[in-house]
Symmetry: C2
Subunit: 244 residues, 2 copies
């Protein structure tokens, strides 16, 4: 146990009361790779290891509210296009200095944003995570699974892409997040069909190597929506008498 002494010991003995922290898995696609924002611990335990940004829940804060406040110290909150709760971990031994529950959030920063971040934080590709403290590496992987799943049936791409983009750029963000190739030509049709994206009418000039100018798209809504709810077992379309 740490050096806080009697006060902490008394608290821990009391059933049902525990320290609570919030942690953020903030992803951004950078240079074609899915990256997560990590913070380097300057003192034990896990000194020198990397951990998720976050901290103690304030006395009168909601969880999401606390997460945004803590994150504001690392990234400008305006850069965060999406934030959702991921999971809560409460293994009694997850924190060596005493019982601490942690509620993790998934946050997304659109590509090409370059938020100012403190010197002790850095973006790390999730394919090459550095040594990480506590159970934070596992939480990063939870976040990746969540993002990956939601790319299939929601419009969550809006939080990965900048406000305007070409289809080949967008397929790059999908590729980075999903971990496999995504054909721009088909992605375009799927997202258009689902009404997720629309053309701006403009196009970007082709690069020095030539090629047809690419049309510029944008997402139609910039908050999470389920766009493909019933992959299967969908309700009968006509006379759909719901039973509740």
């Amino acid at each position: 146990m740490g050096g806080t002494g009697a006060v902490r010991d008394m608290e821990e003995a009391r059933v049902g009361t525990a320290a609570h922290e919030v942690l953020a898995v903030v992803f951004q696609v950078r240079a074609g790779r899915l990256c997560v924002l990590l913070w380097r611990r300057a003192r034990p335990p896990f000194e020198g290891d990397w951990v998720l940004p976050g901290g103690r829940l304030g006395a009168d804060e909601g969880l999401g509210q606390s997460m945004r406040r803590q994150l504001a110290q690392k990234v400008d909150v305006r850069d965060l296009a999406h934030l959702e709760q991921l999971e809560t971990r409460g293994a009694p031994d997850r924190h060596p200095e005493g019982r601490t529950l942690a509620t993790a959030y998934l946050g997304l920063v659109p590509a090409h944003n370059e938020p100012v971040i403190p010197g002790d934080t850095a973006w790390h590709a999730i394919s090459e995570l550095p040594p990480m403290g506590f159970d934070h590496a596992a939480i990063v992987h939870s976040g990746r699974r969540r993002l990956r799943a939601k790319l299939s049936y929601t419009n969550i791409g809006f939080a990965l892409a900048p406000p305007e983009f070409t289809m080949s750029q967008l397929s790059g963000y999908y590729r980075a997040a999903l971990g496999h190739d995504v054909a721009a030509t088909n992605l375009r049709r799927v997202l258009l069909r689902r009404g997720q994206i629309e053309e701006t009418g403009r196009s970007v000039p082709s690069g020095r190597s030539g090629g047809r100018p690419a049309a510029v798209f944008r997402f139609r809504v910039s908050h999470l929506e389920v766009t493909d709810e019933f992959a299967v077992l969908r309700p009968p379309p006509k006379r759909a008498e719901k039973i509740y």
Copy 2:
């Protein structure tokens, strides 16, 4: 604030420490309807209202462990076919007697189990929820959404159905959980194709009104599995060079 006085006040003032409880949304299909197990509060706040079973997190318990312990006082844990974490709520004012975080779980009891439950608990159809205390009604609806979604792309039906069943029974459980009709004939083919269910080889005699005897099926695995992961945007089947 409640009358606990100085001790509680001191705790609440201390940043990062809060009471923590676990709550269970336990569903069972009963008489063709999706029902949730509720507990009737005997004292304020919300006296007489119905709430989710649960209670304070113990000093050295994990969250899931605590949930199982608390649930054991309401339903026999052997009756619980599935338990998964749902969400954590931490609004500062969610509990009138003082800051309390709650981590909710989703639990499923297979149909036709008849667990012994205490006199102050009862099953309520979710289409006719009684007046409920705290934010528990919202948590019930979170649970229903989760169940409904997972029926589409996982084998979670195993936790709704008894060990053996006919297809028309199974379609009844799906109907109750999804809220719309599910044709037994197509459900059979979908679940067989996905390898979720298999025939036992036996059949049940037809009822007094005649009819062909129904084949008896069972789920092949009785833990959660994703059986239809990439509804769309699936990775290329051949030469699927994953990038991580």
